[in-house]
């Protein structure tokens, strides 16, 4: 299974666009992370309110439901850029050079078609809950405190559109590698063997221990 990978960088237009888009993706992913963080505080407020002030937080469930799409969708392109969506790379991992880039291009094209259809479908879902003529433009709202749901529903097509952009870039990146026959394409995640992936994983979770060791010396 593949996790995070390194992405090569150079001065080409492709690499520049890749890094600009990545800044946007990282910003989105951070919003997702902050949403998780807010859930934590929301629970603290809700529990203390209920137990110590006999006043439960009205609409607690409503706010969680509104936050979930933020967590679930908004980082989807960030994850794809880093090769974080899992797959079985036991077969594809054996390919090298042009056959590998061909396989990656095909896989990205299929994903792009799927995600364009998903943008359509999730936008239609948003549209059914949106109505300019209604109060708060809402044709569907949460149960307790009546928050309009359309902004949360809009997040899906929005995040999926960014993923489509990312896929176009990856098709470009793999496509260029396919044509040139290069072994180190820029702007796309590379398949790495399990031990490289593992070393990286270990690094992300134990950097802090090292800092600490350093300061003790």
């Amino acid at each position: 299974m593949s996790g995070a990978t390194s992405i090569l960088v150079d001065n080409s237009a492709l690499s520049k666009i890749d890094r600009s888009l990545h800044r946007l993706e990282e910003f989105f992913a951070l919003i997702g992370g902050i949403a998780v963080f807010s859930l934590m505080f929301l629970a603290v407020v809700s529990v203390t309110g209920r137990h110590f002030f006999n006043s439960p937080l009205p609409g607690y469930v409503d706010w969680i439901e509104q936050a979930m799409p933020l967590i679930a969708f908004i980082g989807i392109a960030y994850c794809q850029r880093l090769g974080g969506h899992i797959r079985m790379d036991i077969l594809i991992g054996r390919l090298k050079g042009r056959p590998l880039w061909l396989a990656e291009v095909v896989s990205c094209v299929v994903m792009l078609i799927l995600m364009m259809l998903m943008v359509w479908g999730s936008y239609a879902h948003f549209e059914r809950s949106f109505d300019f003529a209604s109060p708060m433009w809402s044709r569907d709202s949460t149960l307790d405190i009546r928050l309009p749901i359309w902004p949360a529903k809009l997040l899906a097509p929005l995040a999926f559109s960014v993923l489509c952009l990312r896929l176009v870039l990856q098709i470009w990146g793999y496509g260029a590698a396919l044509i040139r026959g290069t072994n180190d394409p820029v702007a796309v995640p590379m398949i790495e063997d399990a031990s490289t992936v593992a070393a990286r994983e270990a690094e992300t979770v134990s950097g802090f221990d090292d800092d600490e060791k350093g300061s003790n010396k």
Partner: protein, 470 residues
Amino acid sequence: MSSIDIGIAVTIILLIMVMIGMRVAFAAALAGLIGLVWIFWAKKGMAGDQFFWALTVAVKTAGQVPHSKISSQALSLIPTFILIGYLAYYAGLTKALFEAAKRWVGWLPGGLAVSTVFATAGFAAVSGASVATSAVFARVAIPEMLAVGYDKRFAAGVVAAAGTLASLIPPSAILVIYAIIVEQDVGALLLAGFLPGAFSAVIYGGLVIGLAMTFKNFGPPVGGFTWVQRFKSLPGAFPIFFVIAIIIFFVYNPFGGDAWGTPTEGGALGAFVVFLMALYRGMRWKELKSALLETAKLSVMIFTIIWGVLIYVRFLGFADLPGAFSEWIGSLEQSPMLTLIIILLAYAVLGMFMDAIGMLLLTLPVVYPAVMALNGGLDVSAADSAFGMSGVGCAIWFGIIVVKMAELCLITPPIGLNCFVVAGVRPDITVQQVFKGATPFFIADALTIAGLIAWPGIVLYLPELLLGKS
């Protein structure tokens, strides 16, 4: 073609896409979408002028799934549990736990390895991710074991194996995912994980002691700690006990009366305590930001698989494949227990090549109803059932066993990810060596699973006692 034929055909397409390396979430979503188009088009007799209609209905049906299925309170536990895990590293809990375990049980035969098992089990109570748990303990425990003369294969193997406890002992993202897919109470599943996790840890510990007593030069005990030193090691590990207590109190109140809230709130409160501890230990914005980004990335990965698979499940609902599969399994002329064991062996094979979450999400929609049917249905009473437990009990029991199966696959070749992680952390140890060192634990896991099947009470005791769920 009947809708069941379409169901089978699309399932085969899905398996092919997954095997040739398409990302699991998108392969499942695409298979579901293709299936929906096929079903709707077949309904109109596959007439050429009806294809666009079928495509539109399928796309709009699939387009509902991500938002509709994701915005639920219960699912918010998953990112919370992931966040707790990342914060725990910054709270310095790994070293504190290992130090405490060393002082309390280091005097046993194979003391440092036993300490590793119990420290990891303790860390599992704040971490929901097996792979990451192995990675951190590889850094903390292996050097100490090597320093006193342990065989490096064994030192690496014990870390790889003990890491798998993280998904059984709550908090566990994978148990939450199971609960949601099969529509069972999340709290009951989390409670159910405690004893099997502890049982598994005790079997690991016993195995280590047995090996240490059998083989000379295995690794010396580390003793000589005074009781004062022992008690002094506890405060560093305090947040662990606090988090365990919070999660228990938010599922069930041991003092009687109402629980303090939902598991969702309990998880979030646990994360808050660990967050405060990490702040105290010097975590600042730089570390917090990287924890948040990692949490966001892992969450979005899991949620993408969830909605992708649920599009496929929505298609299965239209094709009624799970119903047909259950009927077929139920009609087999062999004992239900034999069928169950065959299903578990199939998981063992599949798990060698697949990620645990992807594997469970892809298979459960079809396998779970079949297992429930084997036992006698969702509403069966313990007396009338095949496995001697009620429908709800069977759902919980099967969940724990299947998660333990998925964990076992983390230490089996060829893709035992925990072993790769340990080898990755220690350039001086090869993956083959880690696999070799983990082999005894593979046998211990097989025994654990046999134990859980023979004595379902290990799984069901807590949920029955505390929630009345059986």
